[in-house]
Structures are given as structure tokens and as C-alpha cells.
């Protein structure tokens, strides 16, 4: 396996999650197979925020959810703190998942309309019998820390705004003291004036609770704001991964460039914007999956899957014709 799983090449802190050759397939219409994620490898360092970006259907959300085995991957290994999550039995997985919590895109759908805020937030401690750790006083503090007035703890979700519901969802996830928080488009359903509140809140809570975050978003400006490292996905594969500044300032994969040029104010020039339609994940293109829309594509792109090449201390891309010079070991 190439590069990106090999965190030993980088001098960073402790690796918390390692994903190797992750593949997720779903049964599609008429016996076909949806290749949602194909042979994806990466790792997540403790305490960092890894942003995952790409167009809808690129598999960014599925990749993150496959880490917590929802859905269970078709093949591949997901290692979290020395245990392979794909081989755990149901009880072990249940226990392990409390470490890996998630917040959702639609804050309202994420809360049971029939339960009170208090019941929703207390659910985790109640399941695990940790009410003695999560005393009433501590839960009240938690509710306060996400910016909800505890005096409204008996209200139902519909009495709160979208932004407040997202805060409640965050508190629910934190009530199990997780290590990892998967944020699946956490602000895209919110009003612009509320997005910044939630982003700042997540930033504060990350420091306060020492969280490692996977931040999935289609909004590149938001990802740039929150991420230490970034992973750009296209049609179930990683196009480019590495240090956020390095990728946003010097993208080498034509897809990353195209994506960035679509954002107003990105400063990336649009050289041959994406042509054509996103191909179907039922029948993804051969070789480099991006070759059908890439203005730099040549014959080799259609036949051979590009390997990952290193373009910086922490910057990898899978492209036959990258817009940058690879780094060799001698450069290091």
C-alpha cells in the first residue's frame, strides 16, 4: 500500500485511527453494485481535525460512517487504538462506539421529537449506567457549555431553533466523553448567521474535551477554517490528502484545483473547469476515476489507477499529471 497509511513517514503525534484499503459497496438497482468507497487508506492523528471534502456522491460521508461500522465496510481494516473495528463483535463494537460519536447535518431530524432535551442528553449516561459520573450538576454544566439555558431542559426539540437543536445534538454526543467526533455537514442546514456560532462552539469544545474531529463538508471555506489536514475525495477514491494549508495553497490534483476554483474568493484560477457530468458510482471510470472530466487526461489515466505520490512533508496526491513536483526522499 502506498504512502498515506504510512504515518511513520511523518513526524506527528499519535495516530488514533488508521483506515486501510477501505471499500464500501451497496447493492444498486437491477443487481448492480454501487461502489461508494473504493480502496481508501488514510490515518487520523489524535487531536487533529481532518476535513473531508468532495462533491455529493464522492463517498466522503460513507467513508466517515464506515469507520464507526455504519455501514459495515465491504472490505478493509479500520484500526482505532490497536483494535480492528471491523472484526469486533456486537458488544465490543457497542462499547467502542461510545468513543466515536457523531453530529448530523439535519439537527432537527437528529433529535427525537417526543423526548425532552434532558432525556436526549442523558441518554448516553443512562445506557451505560454512568449517571454517577455524569451527575445532574455535570449534565447541567454540559448543557450550559453548548449554549443552551438549562432552565429549558424539559422542552421538546420543536421549541428550539435549528442552531439550538444542533447544540443539543453536540451535547448528547459529548455526554459519553468521546475521543472522536464525526461532524457530518454540521452547519450546512443552518442559517449563515448561525453557522459561525456552531463552528466556534466546535472549536471551543475540541480544545476543552481534547477531541479528534472528522469534519465532512461540501463547503470548502468552512473546511479551510476548521481543518488541520484535508482529504479531497472524488467518486469513492482519495484524490489528494495532507496538510490543509499545503493543499489549499498549492493543490496538485486537477480535481482539487477545479473544486477550489469554483469557490468565490479562493484565489485559484479556473483552468479548464470541470467538463461533463459526474460519472455514476455504479460504473466508475477505469484508471483514474477523474479522467473523464480532467482537461489534462492522457491515455495512461484511462488505463492505470494512479499511485499516491508525495508533494510535501504532509501532502499526497494520486495523479498521473500533477500540477506540482513530487518530493523525493532526498529532499526531506
Amino acid at each position: 500500500m502506498v504512502g498515506i497509511g504510512a504515518s511513520n513517514l511523518r513526524e506527528r503525534s499519535e495516530t488514533l485511527i488508521t483506515v486501510e484499503n477501505l471499500t464500501v459497496e451497496f447493492p444498486g438497482p437491477r443487481g448492480a453494485t454501487v461502489q461508494a468507497v473504493s480502496d481508501v487508506s488514510f490515518d487520523v492523528q489524535a487531536g487533529e481535525t481532518l476535513g473531508i471534502v468532495g462533491e455529493s456522491g464522492c463517498g466522503k460521508s460513507t467513508t466517515a460512517k464506515a469507520i464507526i461500522q455504519m455501514p459495515e465496510p465491504t472490505s478493509g481494516v479500520v484500526t482505532y487504538r490497536d483494535s480492528d473495528l471491523t472484526t469486533l463483535d456486537k458488544a465490543e463494537l457497542r462499547r467502542m462506539r461510545t468513543d466515536l460519536q457523531m453530529i448530523f447535518q439535519d439537527p432537527i431530524s437528529a433529535l427525537n421529537p417526543r423526548r425532552s432535551v434532558w432525556d436526549i442528553i442523558r441518554e448516553g449516561p443512562e445506557i451505560w449506567g454512568t449517571e454517577d459520573v455524569w451527575t445532574e450538576q455535570r449534565l447541567v454544566q454540559l448543557i450550559e457549555s453548548v449554549g443552551i439555558d438549562p432552565q429549558y431542559r424539559d422542552r421538546k426539540p420543536f421549541q428550539f431553533s435549528g442552531g439550538q437543536c444542533q447544540r443539543i445534538g453536540i451535547a448528547r454526543a459529548l455526554a459519553l466523553d468521546p475521543e472522536v467526533l464525526i461532524c457530518d455537514e454540521p452547519v450546512s442546514a443552518l442559517d449563515v448567521s448561525v453557522q459561525a456560532q456552531i463552528l466556534n462552539l466546535l472549536d471551543d469544545l475540541q480544545t476543552e474535551h481534547d477531541l479528534t474531529m472528522l469534519f465532512i463538508s461540501h463547503d470548502l471555506a468552512v473546511v479551510r477554517n476548521v481543518s488541520d489536514r484535508v482529504m479531497v475525495m472524488y467518486l469513492g477514491r482519495i484524490a489528494e490528502i495532507g496538510d490543509a494549508d499545503s493543499i489549499f495553497d498549492n493543490p496538485v490534483h486537477p480535481y482539487t484545483t477545479a473544486l477550489l476554483s469554483a469557490v468565490p474568493g479562493s484565489g485559484v484560477r479556473d483552468d479548464g473547469s470541470l467538463s461533463g457530468e459526474l460519472p455514476s458510482p455504479l460504473d466508475p471510470p477505469s484508471g483514474c476515476r477523474f479522467h473523464t472530466r480532467c482537461s489534462d487526461a492522457t491515455e495512461v489515466c484511462a488505463t492505470t489507477v494512479p499511485e499516491f505520490t508525495k508533494f510535501g512533508a504532509d501532502h499526497w496526491a494520486a495523479c498521473h499529471h500533477p500540477q506540482g513536483t513530487p518530493v523525493t526522499l532526498r529532499d526531506l
Binding site: 455504519m70 462499547r95 427525537n112 423526548r115 445506557i127 451505560w128 429549558y152
Partner: protein, 295 residues
């Protein structure tokens, strides 16, 4: 430009006044219809201690005598007290309606929710059984059960209850499917909730409201169904029920012409009871659906 560390609190933000109480939202109509149903139920329960004439005693009044003071609903063709007949008859009608719906919900509701939640092969089998049940001729099923097993309250209720299983089960399954997809179920699973806990705490409270509306509607339908069976003389043997009473009073065209009140009173009470049940069920559904829509 940006503050480095502004407080994230939003403590004063929840300032919307609490919505009007559920009781108020349900409206006067709901309480009137519930009140009527409650009255019918109480009268049915208290029938033995109420100062009523023996419903089986003939010649209490004259043949097809019209309503008058002391004989408020008049008398039927054998001179029995129609008021007493109606109140005593409500006992079997309500009981059969209640047990039938209980069976429908116990079996259909449980199986439907389980099918919608667990999906897979179990769901396929259950859905097939529901479709089969729905296409089975209802009347023939009822005749089979009552003639083979006996025309008792229990078997009449069972025969109607079986018919309730499929519609109830299909609604339960459909509702469960809707909520099982919602992210709060994913969240609960991530927190470590067991299937049992998810079904009880996350799914059931959401499914129970549309189901309770259906229960009220269904009870109305079951009472009418019992009436139909009684009319066909395959309901509870020798038992008094509204259906039986209507059949007795309405089977002869001449009796119907000379003393329509003997049939009209039980028909009216039956009609009002079923209407009230339907209306109450509808209001529950509307109020709680509207609350969903506010989300």
C-alpha cells in the same frame, strides 16, 4: 477584526412563548366526542346497577309504543324497553370492538413495528402475510371462525380482530420505517442503545400517536363489523348487542314502518359512538401531525 474569544452562550435566545396546551389544541369537538364515548362506556359498565328494566322482559310497554316519560326510547315489537336494550346491547358491542382492536394492535402493531425496524427476510414474510390477510374474504373468515369455534364474545372478537391485524400492522410498519431512517435512531445506536431500547424509547413514542388515532377509528369499524355479523345472525349467540337489536327491529318492513324508533335509537347511538371515535382519532392525528410539521 474578529474577537479572539467571545462567549458562545446563547442563554437568552429561547424566548418563544410555550405553544398552547395540547388539550386546547385538540378543540371543543374532540372533548365533546370523547365525552360522548365516555358516557356510553360508563353507562355500559353501570348497566347492572342502573334502574333499568330487564332488557329481556317483554310487554314492559305496548307493542312498538313510542317514546314517552319513563320509557324514553319507547318499546320494540315485543314491548321490550328500547333504552334498556340499547344500554345492555352496548356492553357486547363495545367489548367486541375493544377486544378486536386489542388483538389487532397486539399482533399487528408488534409484528409491524418489528418488521419495519429489523427489515430483511422477516419483513418480507410479514409483508406477504399482511397482503394475504387483506385479500382474504373477510366475511367468509368470520363465518368460518364463528361457526366452527362458536359464537361467543371471544371468538367473535377474534374473528374481527384478525381482520384488524393487517391494516394496523401495515401502518405500524410504515410509520416505523419513517422513523427508523431518522438520524436520532442512528444517534441512539451510536450511544450504545440496544435494539430493545431503541424500539421502546425512540420508535414507539413516535409511532404510538398515529396508531392511537387508528385505534379509535378501528374501534368504530369493529363495532360496525360486529353489527354486520349480528345482522347476518353470526355474532354472539343469544347476546344482546346493537347489531342484534337493529336486526330485531329492522328485519320486518312492517315493524320498521310502524315503530321506526325501535331501530332508530340503537342506530343513532351506534352512529354517534362511531362518529365520535372517528372524530377524536382524527383530531389526535391532526394535532400531532401539525406538531411534526412545525419541526
Amino acid at each position: 477584526m474578529a474577537d479572539t474569544h467571545e462567549p458562545v452562550t446563547e442563554l437568552e435566545a429561547v424566548d418563544a412563548p410555550p405553544p398552547p396546551s395540547i388539550a386546547k389544541q385538540l378543540g371543543l369537538g374532540f372533548w365533546l366526542s370523547s365525552g360522548f364515548v365516555a358516557l356510553v362506556v360508563v353507562l355500559a359498565l353501570l348497566a347492572p346497577v342502573l334502574p333499568l328494566a330487564d332488557p329481556n322482559e317483554t310487554a314492559i310497554g305496548g307493542r312498538l309504543e313510542g317514546p314517552r316519560s319513563g320509557l324514553w326510547f319507547g318499546a320494540d315489537s315485543t314491548g321490550r324497553d328500547v333504552l334498556s336494550l340499547t344500554i345492555w346491547g352496548s356492553r357486547i358491542s363495545l367489548l367486541v370492538g375493544f377486544i378486536a382492536i386489542l388483538i389487532g394492535f397486539a399482533v399487528g402493531g408488534t409484528v409491524g413495528i418489528a418488521a419495519g425496524y429489523f427489515r430483511g427476510v422477516f419483513d418480507k414474510i410479514v409483508s406477504f402475510v399482511f397482503v394475504t390477510l387483506l385479500s382474504f374474504p373477510a366475511l367468509i373468515l368470520a363465518i368460518l371462525i364463528t361457526t366452527l369455534l362458536g359464537r361467543t364474545v371471544a371468538w367473535v372478537s377474534v374473528s374481527i380482530g384478525i381482520l384488524a391485524i393487517a391494516p394496523v400492522g401495515r401502518l405500524a410498519r410504515a410509520q416505523t420505517l419513517v422513523f427508523a431512517e431518522r438520524e436520532f435512531v442512528t444517534a441512539a445506536r451510536l450511544l450504545g442503545a440496544s435494539d430493545r431500547r431503541i424500539l421502546l424509547k425512540e420508535i414507539l413514542p413516535n409511532v404510538v400517536i398515529p396508531m392511537s388515532a387508528l385505534a379509535l377509528l378501528g374501534m368504530g369499524i369493529a363495532i360496525v363489523a360486529e353489527g354486520t355479523l349480528a345482522f347476518l345472525a353470526i355474532s354472539v349467540e343469544d347476546g344482546l348487542s346493537w347489531g342484534r337489536q337493529i336486526q330485531d327491529a329492522g328485519s320486518s318492513a312492517r315493524n320498521l314502518q310502524n315503530g321506526p324508533h325501535a331501530a332508530l335509537f340503537p342506530i343513532g347511538v351506534l352512529f354517534l359512538t362511531v362518529l365520535s371515535l372517528n372524530y377524536a382519532g382524527d383530531r389526535i392525528r391532526e394535532v400531532f401531525d401539525a406538531k411534526e410539521l412545525q419541526l
